[in-house]
Symmetry: C2
């Protein structure tokens, strides 16, 4: 098994990941929000790149909810911001949500060439990794890529720590596997701050920006591990819950 | 003071680094080789991107030596490969060397927009950082960028560890400074493997490739810290020794 990590969506080599399973991570907060929304009963999420596109879809179907952010905050005229805490069951259950965010949406689109694309976050990493591991064995896929969204086309520490957690979980399943340098670095960084990622993230850029914007509870939420069982897949331009056989 | 790190040369935002001092690192082995060659008395080094360009310069002046690598090994018709151990005093003293390497040369050119450009390696990091620190204060420059060459346009662990060492040294001079996420990650990774970088590099890509090619001694050489006092600057397309007032 081979694991390849990209530090931001712009770095993704679309041709190279064609025969990979992909995990897309925008920990703070796009993929965490989407996973939480689906877990809370949203029917599906349609990630789009622009505000215009989101509004166009709403004009075609008034029932959809609009969610996302620009500069970290609610977009004027939208129903929901980018805070997972806004995606309450009573608001979103059974609904289709059109979302636009700065980095996460673009990362999903950049990963679109991969064989299958899953959403990753600390909140559901273990279940997601376990599912992916079973599926790659079934389909005889030998390659997994972790696509970190990054921030403003730069390496972003919280995404990398979450990538490292995925590597850590995969490691427990495999006797030997091949990782690229960034997967290895992510793993080592994750292990160093495994017990308290806030300890290093408090010096990092995006985490601090969200803190300044008043989203401290979101930071706590998105860094908590594995309290969600829902696995989310991006397929035919839509994020939906994966139905798992039991 | 602000420190910004790039994980590979292609990522460098040339416009953004205009008012920065830059440190370019291709630890294995381009910048280590160039620093060692200058320290051993080479007059100057002319980094060029292609073999053709190197041969053209030789045709204009037969006295120059040609050095570098493709696929890690000696280029046909060249005088020197990319191993620091080849750059012995008796061969290179007083000579001009035209060099072409896969990543290091390109990284130097990508950093060319910076205010001043220095070559970095473990072998001379402390002296280089000390000099840069004095100069930035003198010129009232508030920004330093560390440009890792990377390997094949990817994040490369040995360059990142060396970047982390530079951050560690700068940290000792400054009460507070601002680092981007990659500088912070480099620092934490460096500190984790400070006493034995081989411990993690033995799992990394480029290090292993050089080991397989038989360059184990080069790996030992390039990972040894601060046995060289020479500071090298890339200026007007040429690498030369910085003359320091004492």
């Amino acid at each position: 098994m081979k694991i390849l990590t990209f530090s931001h969506y712009k770095d993704v080599d679309e041709e190279r990941i064609k025969d990979f399973f992909a995990i897309v991570i925008d920990l703070l907060r796009a993929t965490s929000v989407m996973i939480w929304a689906i877990s809370n009963g949203a029917k599906k999420i349609v990630p789009v790149e622009s505000i215009e596109e989101a509004k166009l879809l709403k004009s075609l179907n008034e029932d959809v909810l609009l969610g996302g952010e620009r500069g970290g905050v609610l977009i004027q005229g939208f129903d929901l911001d980018n805070s997972p805490l806004s995606y309450k069951k009573e608001i979103i259950f059974g609904r289709t949500i059109v979302m636009t965010t700065t980095n996460g949406t673009r990362a999903l689109k950049k990963a679109a060439m991969a064989k299958r694309i899953f959403l990753g976050s600390f909140i559901n990493a273990r279940k997601t990794a376990e599912y992916i591991f079973k599926e790659v064995l079934k389909d005889d896929i030998q390659k997994i890529t972790i696509v970190c969204a990054g921030t403003e086309e730069k390496f972003t520490l919280e995404d990398i720590l979450c990538a490292g957690y995925f590597v850590d979980i995969f490691k427990t399943y495999l006797e030997s596997f091949e990782v690229d340098d960034l997967s290895l670095a992510s793993y080592e960084l994750y292990k160093k701050f495994e017990n308290d990622p806030h300890e290093i993230l408090k010096y990092s850029y995006h985490y601090n920006r969200l803190k300044q914007l008043g989203f401290e509870k979101d930071l706590e939420f998105c860094l908590k591990k594995d309290f969600v069982d829902t696995i989310c897949e991006f397929k035919n331009l839509v994020v939906e819950k994966v139905l798992v056989d039991v």
